[in-house]
């Protein structure tokens, strides 16, 4: 697969952002310094398939937590849409509204689709120091699964335990 032309790559410092997770709460990337963060951009809430990406990650959440990692879903949908979606799918992680300016964070990560007005289906694993250690862009119609994320978290952990031994 050819590399995505604009997607931020491993080694790049992850651009900080502050986005609404609920109408009266915001989340900043910098709050999570000290632990790995999985940033999952996806095109839109309400994907019509049964095993969709966010449902899958919801299922794998305990596994992400074993690595001490925090999962954040990001799309251009507004907070009320996210709330309804998260409630319907019983999601146990935050969905952030990249809503105003629309797609601003997706653009900062090189993961915006001008033609569609949505983000790409793009994944970033960011280390405890705020550096992107792995990124991947999936075709919009293809759920990328979680094996790449878990591989990245595993190698972060291996590095960490080597450094501390």
């Amino acid at each position: 697969m050819s590399e995505h032309p604009t997607l931020l790559r491993a080694g790049t410092s992850a651009p900080d952002f502050t986005l609404h997770s609920t109408p009266d709460q915001t989340v900043s990337l910098s709050e999570f310094r000290g632990k790995p963060v999985i940033l999952a951009f996806y095109p839109a809430d309400w994907s019509p398939v049964c095993g969709d990406q966010m449902a899958l990650y919801n299922e794998i959440l305990p596994e992400f937590h074993k690595y001490g990692a925090e999962l954040l879903g990001v799309s251009v949908d507004g907070v009320w849409c996210h709330i309804a979606f998260a409630h319907a799918r019983k999601l146990h992680f935050s969905l952030l509204a990249d809503f105003e300016p629309k797609g601003g964070v997706a653009r900062a990560y090189g993961a915006y689709r001008d033609t569609d007005g949505t983000s790409e289906r793009a994944l970033f694993v960011i280390d405890a120091e705020g550096v992107i250690r792995w990124s991947y862009c999936s075709p919009v119609g293809v759920n990328p699964g979680a094996d790449g994320i878990l591989d990245a978290l595993e190698s972060l952990q291996a590095e960490h335990s080597q450094a501390s031994s």
């Binding site: 398939v49 095993g51 449902a55 794998i60 146990h92 094996d147 591989d151």
Partner: protein, 196 residues
Amino acid sequence: MSAQGQGMLRPDVSDKDHALGRADAPVTLVEYGDYQCPHCWRAHPVVTAVRALLGDKLRFVFRDFPLTQIHEHALHAAEATESVATNAGGDAFWAMHDTIYEHQQDSPIALDDSHLVKYAASCGADPEQVARDLANDTFEEDVRADFMSGVRSGVNGTPTFFINGVRFEGDWSNPKFFAAALLEGAAMVGAPRGSR
């Protein structure tokens, strides 16, 4: 395709798996499935037909991939099959597997605990033992291990199939075409890893 573009099954099929057919069969088909998933329900008779078409050439392995947050009965259904396997053996496991899919669409409660226990009894398992195993989630870890092996293999939904360890990306809805694709895929990939 998985995030790494590999789509390889890990770990390989072993004697810990539930398998139908000869271990030295040239084609090993692995399905990651969810007992409450309607797509898996559609796939079930297709796989049965493919097994009939390919006979001794095929070994079929089923691994659990329950999406428990959207399918409330999927985890216990999978646990029930494991309980039946442990308490009544491999043939009973496959009878339970078939029975669950045959009843999946009966009603919204067709896979609740009381129905699962009834199906287990009809497959020759001790219903009280199965009920205890469900209440204690005795086999939750086993089901979870299957699920995680699927995640690590790049499974992103159900059903997902692997032919001799390589992810199958094609259409499985027609048994004849699926059987032909399995033979062709297996010939391209070579013998399954983990076979003798």
